[in-house]
Every structure is written in structure tokens, then in C-alpha cells.
């Protein structure tokens, strides 16, 4: 073979192999770059007293709380001062592809003991979620998105044994109040965001997973106290920290 021909083949092969290597390694580098944001949301001050709920309108509901009386869940504070049910999401700094990514998990919003479980549910735009009922009494769930948000309100009856409703929300909204037309004390929230999110547990701890490297504004939302923000920078594959404190009214 002529020399120039051999040389060109060698260079071309090297180029192809390098390109493949870069692509493969590049992918792995990107995956390794998914970091997280962890932290705690605490309440500064005395937690407000959560009133008991009188469910006497529906004897089935009363029976479900014979041993543990039902209470309002607007502000649930753990023993260490951590607030439960606070939603954390990235309000600024998300690249377009991460903002429009929709997780495949389907959270469930259940009606149990004539209360919503969980009290607050967070979903992404277009993320499928299920509304189910575990009660032997009819519920009529009624989310009330704000006019102009682009989300359309609906209400559906679910008698005992009814199959779950599978649906999505089309637009971000912080947050959609949810009530039951039959049981006036039932109240919950659907928080519709874009990108990765998390909800605090009973100790106020949270971890937002799958956060690409970058600088973000993290927003914490609590139904009584509103929102707080923090600026966080996530290095590739690392866990960044962000703590929040809400002041009791």
C-alpha cells in the first residue's frame, strides 16, 4: 500500500476511536456530575397550636379516628424544630433540559381517614400522579388552581372502592389548594414545579437529587409561612447544603 494511504487510515482510525472515547467518557462524566442539595428547614419560635377536627358529619370518619383524634396539618413541627411538608425546588438556574425532564415515578395522593395523605404533594409539570381513596365513604376531590395559571380545576367523586384517578398538571403553580366537597375539613396542596424537588420529612430534612452542576436559587415553600430562598452552587457530583429557617408568627 502507498505510504500516504496507510498514514491517512491510521489518523482516521485514531480520530474515530478518540471521538468514541470522548463520547463515552463524556457521558459518564456528565452522570457523575449529578449532584444534590441537602438541608433542614426549621421553625424559629413556638409552633402554632393545631386545632382538632370535628368530623361528626360523617360517622365513618369519626370511627377512623377513635384512638387518634385528627388535627389540622397546616404547620407540623417535629421534636427538633424541623417543619414537615415544606417543598423545595430550584426556582432559578436550571438548564432547559433539566427543567423539562419529567420523572417517571408516579406519586400517590390518597384519601385516608377522611384526610389527605400526604398533606402536601409535589410534582413536576406533566408528571403523572394518582389520586386514590382508601376510605369506605365517598369523597369528592376538588383541586382549585388559580385563574390564569393555565391549570384547569376539576372535581371527581370517588365512592368506596373507586379506582385511582391518574392525571397531570400542565403548568407550574405554587401551590394548588385541594379540598373535598363532601368533607369540608379536608385540605391539601399540589405543588407543581419544574426540575428536581424535594419535600421535608418529619424532622425537616430534605435532599433534592439529580441536580446538575451549576448555581441555583433554591426556594422553600410552606403553606402558612410562604417562601424563602437561598443561593446554592452544586459542584459536579457533590452534595451542597442549604438550610432554611421560618419565623413563627
Amino acid at each position: 500500500m502507498k505510504t500516504w494511504y496507510k498514514r491517512t487510515c491510521a489518523i482516521l482510525s485514531a480520530l474515530v476511536v478518540s471521538a468514541v472515547l470522548v463520547a463515552v467518557v463524556g457521558e459518564q462524566v456528565k452522570a457523575a456530575g449529578e449532584g444534590s442539595i441537602t438541608g433542614t428547614v426549621k421553625l424559629n419560635g413556638t409552633a402554632p397550636h393545631m386545632k382538632g377536627i370535628d368530623m361528626s358529619k360523617d360517622p365513618y370518619c369519626v370511627a377512623q379516628h377513635k384512638d387518634s383524634p385528627a388535627k389540622l396539618e397546616n404547620v407540623v413541627v417535629g421534636s427538633g424544630g424541623g417543619i414537615q411538608n415544606v417543598v423545595l425546588y430550584l426556582s432559578e438556574g436550571l438548564p432547559a433540559n433539566a427543567a423539562s425532564a419529567v420523572p417517571s415515578q408516579e406519586p400517590t395522593f390518597d384519601q385516608k381517614g377522611c384526610l389527605y395523605a400526604p398533606h402536601v404533594m409535589a410534582v413536576d409539570v406533566d408528571q403523572k400522579f394518582k389520586v386514590s381513596t382508601s376510605d369506605q365513604t365517598t369523597h369528592n376531590i376538588h383541586p382549585l388552581p388559580a385563574t390564569g395559571s393555565g391549570n384547569i380545576g376539576w372535581n371527581k367523586s370517588q365512592p368506596p372502592g373507586a379506582p385511582p384517578i391518574e392525571t397531570t398538571w400542565k403548568n407550574p403553580e405554587i401551590a394548588i389548594p385541594v379540598k373535598c366537597n363532601i368533607h369540608p375539613w379536608m385540605h391539601g396542596w399540589h405543588v407543581v414545579v419544574k426540575g428536581p424537588y424535594a419535600i421535608t420529612d418529619e424532622n425537616g430534612n430534605f435532599t433534592i437529587k439529580n441536580v446538575p452542576a451549576g448555581s441555583y436559587t433554591v426556594t422553600a415553600w410552606q403553606e402558612e409561612y410562604g417562601t424563602q430562598t437561598a443561593k446554592v452552587t452544586v459542584a459536579g457530583g457533590q452534595a451542597a447544603k442549604a438550610d432554611f429557617t421560618f419565623k413563627a408568627k
Binding site: G52, D58, N181, I182, H187
Partner: protein
Amino acid sequence: MARFFAVTIFVIAILSAIPIVRHTWWMAPDISTHGGPIDEQMVDTMWEAGISFLASQILLAWFIWRFSGDRPGEKTKNFPGGAKTVVWAAFLLVGTEVLALGVFGVKAWANVYFTPPAANAMPVQVQAGQFAFYFRYPGPDGTFGALHPEMISESNENFFGLDTANDADAKDDIVTAEMAIPVNREIHLLMHSKDVGHSFFVPELRVQQDFVPGLDLSVHFTATKIGRYEIVCTQLCGLGHYNMKAYLSVMSQQDYDGWLKKQAALQ
């Protein structure tokens, strides 16, 4: 064939009357002090309507039996006096019945609505809203706090829109999902609707009153029997109307005081 028809009419008339006469599906026993004339009105109506019904059906059956079939050559007899007499007779019969029932009815109604509540009647407020009843007691100061509709928040259980932070009268008000009253005590029930039309109906208490949006209405009554009764909404108010109810507990004065204390502690 016609005779069979006549017999059928007669049998149906008798069979329909039997359950009414025997009170098979009768009203719940009256536990109120004002229910007597109302029940009397019901009984009188049943008597008069019943007698007219039976008379007309039996007459009809007899005429069919007697005059059906061809009788060539038989002349048709007229009612003595002709059509004018029939019309007069009808007017008189129906008119007296309507008058009688009307007189009784007006008396029963006026007894409830034209008598004011006693000066020492116990005030209780009820608010009807899609789809539940909530009740309010004035508390130790005996005064109801002002209502602020813009402050109504079901998620915070502020069903009436009370300004408990700033309004001294509202601070001691007791809001409940269940209505309890002491037995043999006159109650002055103050009623208003949060949204659309509803109705407050306790069959045993012989009380039924619509809520009209925008109006403050009231009824007064005295319960005479201890027990637990259903308050049902009897004015179509939306998709939850079928399920809209609350419970009325009539208790001894002692039990009622204990209940009110417990409710006050839950505010």
C-alpha cells in the same frame, strides 16, 4: 270486562287506604312542643282527602258496574238539577275542604312563625354552606362576635369568619360541627347561608326552614325528648346535597353543660 274493571278499581282504592289508616309508614314521633297542631293538620288532611278519595273511587266503580254494556232503548238520565247543580255541589264540597284545611294550616303555621321566641330562649347560630352545617354558641359573654366573610378559611377551621385575634366578643364563641341543646329549653335558632340555598330539617322536631342567601332568618322550638337526631339539608344545593347533614343531640342540662365545656376547650 267492565265489571272486572270496576272490581279492580274498588280493590285498588281499599288497598291504598289500608297502609294510611294503619299508619304503616307514618311520621316519626313528635319531640317538639309546637308539633301537635302540625300533626293534627296532617291527620285532618288525610281524613278529608281519604274520604273524598274513597268516595270518588267507590262511586266510579259502582257507575262502571251498573251502567257499562249496551242497553238499547234505555234513556240517559240527567243529574237532578242539571250541570249547574253539579258545578255548585263540586264548588261547595271542595271549597269547604280547602277552607277547613286552610284554617287549620294557618293556625299551625302562625303558631310557629307569628309567635316571637321567649325572652330567655337560648340562641344558637347555624351556618349552612356547601356541604355542611356549622354551629356557633355565644360563649360565657352571651354575645356573638361579628362575622367577617373575607376571613372565612376552611383550611384553618375558621368557618364563620371570626376575628378571634381582635374581637373580644368572638374570642369566646364556640364553633362546633354538631348541634347539642338541653331538653325542654326553648332554642332560638339563628340561620344564614354561606353560599346558596339550603334547608334545615329535623323531622322529629317538626322544624323545616329554608336558608335564603342574603337573609338572616330564625326559628324557635323546644325539644322534649333526649336523643340523637339527624339534621338534613332539604333544598338542592349542589352535588354534595345528598350527603349534607349534621347531628342534633338533645341532652339533659347537665350533659349539655359538660358537652359545651368540652367544645370550648377544643376552640
